[in-house]
Symmetry: C2
């Protein structure tokens, strides 16, 4: 079954909202092996919604419409689908009652407009609403209902719930094909994109030689989330697909070593898991990342078990008063190490992690933008610091400093020595290379005395 996505909403066409719904839907379709060759965005205009539907139905068997199911006169997806089906809309009194009850439960009165959400094209099946007021629709189209159009709300969590509950199962029934496509994403940090490609090259060749049925590998550079390797396999059954992925993951783990930090898990969750396992607590000291490191840690479920807190010493004098640094340069390996040790002691944690550096646009203390020093203090030795050079604008430099600091802590908790430390830099003018480009570098690490 070929599926197309039609996202409806004038705000999308005006660029006021980025269409994240289509990307999410596309990802789900790919995961279950359904082809999606085209995606269209169209405004709140009944003629043009119909036109988009017609073009899509000329190329595909199924169309997922997203948006335009709200209560206002602007919301026209229901009307366009009824026109495409050549039927009338009828108000479903049962649905009106459900919507009315949703308002009552929240202590509010339903406005007359909201009853529009109970309008159903004759012959369409309703997907009951659970999270919002708009029901979804399954609309048979074409000769003998050989084609289908789904209507889903534009509110992301409502759309996602309905797609998972009703649309994907319905599509699977129509597809009737037993094949599944399963993906697994390995995340890496510490190797540049081109270097990663070199390391992985033997596997790419082996899989190519193995021919159809073998997993495929795609590279996805995504900045703060690391450089990802996405393995995908199509197989008649899920068990065989998982087994093929297990085998390939093992091969890649062997090649990548400590650069592979997780399967489908963010860096902060990996670090949190390692700290929790070891019964360690963490405190942070941030200069130019300004709380970004702490806020990522706090966003991790269960963080209160291992994260105690942090300080943001944006003004230099606070590095002295809050963390006990001596007077002197604040963008340096010594300062980073002393900040980490200060955070560890003053916040009474087992581990201290620190960032200082230059986000740009101007140099600071003679260092160019993109320079960062990452400090780490553990209980059993002197604090250390690592220098990295990070590409990108202010925001990206900060983001990359945060994942680099977390990776330093991860590697130390796993017992890797200095030689697995890296320097980050821009390496290629080639188009399409992602933002995070890293060079491995046997060294680059400095052990500095703790600053007190």
């Amino acid at each position: 079954v070929r599926v197309e996505i039609v996202a409806v909403g004038t705000e999308l066409l005006l660029g006021q909202i980025v269409d994240t719904n289509s990307a999410w839907i596309a990802e789900q379709l790919a995961a279950v092996g359904l082809d999606c060759h085209f995606q269209t965005r169209v405004g709140d205009n009944i003629g043009r919604i119909r036109q988009a539907l017609e073009v899509a139905l000329g190329r595909a068997e199924a169309v997922i419409c997203c948006g335009g199911l709200g209560p206002t006169q602007d919301d026209l997806t229901r009307e366009a689908l009824a026109e495409a089906m050549g039927v009338e809309l009828r108000r479903d009194p049962g649905l009106v009652a459900v919507i009315e009850e949703m308002f009552t439960r929240r202590g509010r009165t339903m406005s007359a407009n909201n009853a529009r959400q109970a309008d159903v094209p004759v012959g369409a099946e309703v997907i009951p609403q659970r999270l919002g007021t708009a029901p979804g629709l399954i609309c048979p189209l074409g000769a003998n209902g050989a084609q289908v159009a789904y209507a889903l709300p534009g509110v992301p969590h409502e759309m996602q719930e309905m797609l998972t509950r009703a649309v994907l199962p319905d599509l699977a029934r129509r597809a009737g094909e037993p094949a599944v496509i399963v993906s697994r994403t390995l995340r890496t940090w510490g190797l540049g994109e081109s270097q990663l490609a070199e390391v992985v090259a033997p596997r790419l060749e082996a899989l190519d030689a193995a021919g159809p049925g073998a997993p495929t590998i795609a590279f996805l550079a995504s900045g703060i989330e690391g450089i990802k390797l996405r393995l995908t396999v199509k197989s008649p059954d899920a068990g065989r697909a998982e087994a093929a992925l297990d085998l390939e993951e093992a091969e890649l783990r062997r090649l990548l070593g400590p650069a592979l930090f997780s399967v489908d898990q963010p860096m902060e969750a990996v670090v949190g898991g390692l700290l929790a396992e070891r019964g360690l607590t963490l405190a942070t000291a941030e200069s130019f990342t300004g709380g970004l490191l702490a806020s990522r840690l706090v966003a991790t479920p269960g963080a209160s078990a291992w994260f105690v807190g942090g300080v943001v010493t944006y003004a230099s004098r606070l590095k002295q008063s809050l963390l006990g640094l001596p007077e002197g340069p604040v963008v340096s390996a010594a300062a980073a190490a002393a900040m980490a040790e200060g955070a560890r002691r003053r916040l009474e944690a087992a581990v201290g992690l620190a960032t200082t550096g230059v986000a740009g646009p101007d140099p600071q203390e003679g260092h160019p933008p993109g320079t960062a020093f990452l400090g780490l203090a553990l209980a059993d030795g002197p604090a250390e610091a690592v220098a990295v050079r990070l590409p990108g604008d202010r925001e990206q430099v900060r983001q990359l400093a945060v994942i680099s600091a977390l990776d330093l802590l991860r590697r130390r908790l796993l017992g890797h020595d200095h030689h697995s430390i890296w320097v980050v830099g821009d390496d290629s003018p080639a188009q399409g290379s992602g933002p995070a480009v890293l060079h491995a570098n046997g060294g680059g690490s400095t052990t500095a005395p703790s600053g007190r």
Copy 2:
């Protein structure tokens, strides 16, 4: 001139990348008054790129293709355009030399693949590359070149530079229409969406009655950036357009009062500006927002003039040791006020701003998720705290707490009293309402003693 956007890339179709380019292009087109009724995404497949082009050229006079100009065999936009034009691709030796030189300048050798980026459909005009290696293309199509297709790289900053430099001027020439569309976005915080609509209703009626040529008003709820009112006007010349927006802005300012916090400027920049004007410095103390408040402040250009730093006291004991709070509940108005006062004193700033609350999913100290207390300490009086109820998931609750805390500080710096303080809550199950739904509330503020 009707324009369509065709974004090319299999990673878009698989949902691995969200298509932010189309939204950006759409926004630029809307700003200069060009209609864009459809946007399409298509994979790296020459037949399907051609199909998407044909459909688009069947509806519009101009098509902007974005992506597929990279150096690899996957990059097929050049080939598809040549086919659509019915011409051959010819390698331009001048362009090859430019690309080669870009590599040389960075101390690298050009790979043979990169020469593909110098392939130009016969009859197409080249848009010289400035930031990356791929040149853009202007391809005449249709009878007498009445239609046009542009090809731009998929790397956002390269695409943006070329669109602004070459595509928009070319489209303006083709449009030949002297009208401009000018927009201005007023940002508000403290009124719920429905309440905002009520307040603004008299202007909507007046503008409706004024008929064509009058500005239009659109509501955009965007969480952390506040609820926006976007004024748009179409006029024969820019001066008249700006004058019409000035008049309308004045009317809205009168109605909205202190809820209007800026024109096209984020909350943290407004707060920073007020602090700088008054020569005040700010320190933060964060519990459940975990550094998010500090990191937004640090991201503001010029922040070092007024932001000194902050503490993230995620563990309760740090509220005592770092901020001097007494033992006791940490999710309370008294704790928020004491945290603000503690930050102000310990970090030696003129102003202390604090957050404590429950992000969820579980309640804490008897408070449901979404409860937040915002503390503010100024030099000239006791610290105060304000209670708010915030809708959404963990991340959204944190984000809304941050903008609410900043808005509290903004209002106090402007001299507004307690009666302009608000309580935030979920108000409507209606689909399409944005995440930030706020209720004005004459009160809700608590003055608590500073915690020492």
